[in-house]
Amino acid sequence: MECNCRFPPEHACVLNFSGELFMPSTLNSDVVIVGTGVVGCLIAEQALDAGLSVLMLEAGPRVGRDTIVENYRNLPPTLRNHWNAPYPPKPWAPHLETRTPTEAASYLDLTGPNAKAYEQGYVRYAGGATWHWAGICWRMTPDDLRLKSLYGVGRDWAFSYDVLEPYYARAEYAMGVCGPGDPALQWPPRTARSRPYPMGPIPFGPGEQRLTDVAATIGMQNLPAPQARNSGVSFDGRPPCCGNNNCFPVCPIAAKYDAATALPRIEAKGGRIITNAVAYRIETNAQKKVEAVHYYDPNRTSHSVSGKIFVLACNGIETPKLLLLSADDKNPRGVANSSDQVGRNMMDQPKLIADIEMSEPLWTGVGPVQSSSIMNTSQGDFRREYAGAMFRMENMARSTLGGLAALEKGLYGKALDQEIRRLSACTARLTVEHEPLPLPFNRLTLSDKKDWLGLNRPSIYYDVGDYVRRSAENYTVPLLKKLATALGATNINISPEFLHSDHIMGGTIMGNDPSDSVVDADCRAHDHDNLFLPGGGAMTTGGSGNSTITMAALALKAADAIVGQLNHA
């Protein structure tokens, strides 16, 4: 079948999956953003507010909150702790699913001694992984940005905390972060804030209060977490948290910030969002500028979008994958990859968990699923030798776990009720998340295995490294046992291997030196001045806390640079 249309060759018709001729569309916008998660949405709004046109591409579908909540409630109880289960992926936009080992191996191609610790959960839906994030917003500390200078490990960031602080504050207002007003309960400690949190803290339930009291007796300070959850009042058109205790896999009332709540506002401001559009190639010209993003629709018909500025914000795995997929004669290692650092330095906080049983009730399950953490264990001179870490307790209601475990024992009648109540109230999960180092051998490459569209799946080698292993052996596991014992644990079961924290970082690492980093201090690609790669991939080090607020701060910093660059042009 031949194309007889009058368009020039670059716009010629192509065959779709059904063998039909189809004329691909070519769209144009000032700012083209790939990805509709928190980073993409924050940049889109900043650009729209500055009078720029914005077009966003999302690989997956746009699904209503009611559907996701019903998906969750319709799951068998044994699957309700698989956070990805309420988000069935479309064939053209796969993401990790974990209900069976076969399913878990069907997208991410993981290798290395700690492959399990890179089973990253993210959602290829409009709104991205913020659908099932915990909402926790720990800032990094000034020391976290200077690991090399202070401790001789890792790297230093391209700027100091003072540069990042105003963007943290803006991000806290953009996302609606609640937190304590008392400086003694704020993080980082003894560090000035340019603005208070927009809302006060969310109250503790009995479990988190007990953890706080007990931890204090052994020198561990459990702080109320700053969290992107509306506390006591509505904020940004979203209602206050009513303690639905379901922040992951989905907040049923949108009290927690998720990027999906920003999408209608972006459209109201004139932004255009194209869903089910899988970006597969970044095209550059002879002047090293990005000219277009090419994407497939679900019929595998190719389309392209041209623009002035391009932002890849499709998370720390999909962004480096897309850059590597875009290798051509002009960019033999992939786009933005003259340094050979794209896909290297993959980071996450390797996590260990301790399931404990106590003689007295602790009562988790009141308030958000996470609402506090112990952060003072993440800082100190010991970081010359081994990693700092954040400790916390999962605050999810354990009735399902208690119920299923008691039924498994074959109980009935009053004994069944008593055992469900005991197992629900007198058990808990403690976790410790270790600070990672950027290690070049932890690398994302293109797998030989292909996805539904015929695109290479991501292959990731992951080794948590000796820095983390030494921490676990000498520091965190003994401390975890000490904390469990202080809580009155009669049984402590620690996970035999490191697990993932779902904080994907490092794959498009930031630095001042173009020879060993991918982006500059504004998340602009060293190789292409109209290409921005903000988000977790740009983070130079990971710290011990959750990464989203830093990703959001970097997004706002990049947005300022984008607006400035286009205004200057």
Binding site: P76, G243, N246, A397, T400, Y412, S424
Partner: protein
């Protein structure tokens, strides 16, 4: 709190995880409302017998609508389920059993005992395990949530007014009535 009951089979996930799940649930709620409004909650005798048996196995307030769903699911997954119900009822009557604590130790027939445990499990967990997959018959009405409902949230349902919860720990002995 709006009752919202749907069935779920893993192998039919594509069908049930989409709008059809909502449509199914909506139609069930609609039928239930209609039936209640017209006073036509007439259950077949087999379902009534199942509810009588359930009342002894699970000594709590039992929602007849959930019971109907459990009965349907067990009838489809357990061969000869009506006969099992009849046999258990017969055993209870013959031995004048008054509660589940006396019934279970007296049940020497392993198959009958396992069936009784399956019925109990379905009421508490809200799911019936079958060869073709799991069938979810209840979410917030699953009795495992009732046991801790004085403190713990039923996930995805509101705990209280905004920020109205507190850190008060209650005794394990204060079992809620349900």
């Amino acid at each position: 709190m709006t009752p919202f009951h749907t069935e779920f089979t893993i192998n039919r996930r594509g069908l049930l995880l989409g709008m059809s799940a909502l449509a199914t649930a909506a139609s069930v709620v609609q039928s239930r409302t209609l039936a209640a409004a017209t006073g036509q909650m007439h259950e077949p005798d087999s379902v009534l017998q199942f509810m009588l048996l359930s009342k002894l196995l699970v000594p709590h307030e039992l929602d007849p609508f959930v019971g109907h769903k459990i009965y349907n699911a067990l009838s489809e997954t357990e061969e000869g389920f009506d006969n099992t119900v009849t046999a258990l009822q017969g055993f209870i009557k013959k031995n004048a059993v008054v509660d589940v604590e006396h019934l279970m130790p007296a049940l020497t027939d392993v198959a009958l005992k396992n069936s009784a445990l399956k019925i109990i499990s379905a009421w508490y967990s809200g799911v019936v395990h079958g060869k073709s997959g799991d069938r979810v018959v209840a979410f917030e009405e699953a009795l495992m949530f009732k046991v801790t409902n004085d403190v713990m949230t039923i996930p995805s349902y509101a705990k209280s007014a905004p920020n109205a919860w507190n850190a008060t720990a209650v005794s394990l002995l204060n079992m809620p009535a349900f």
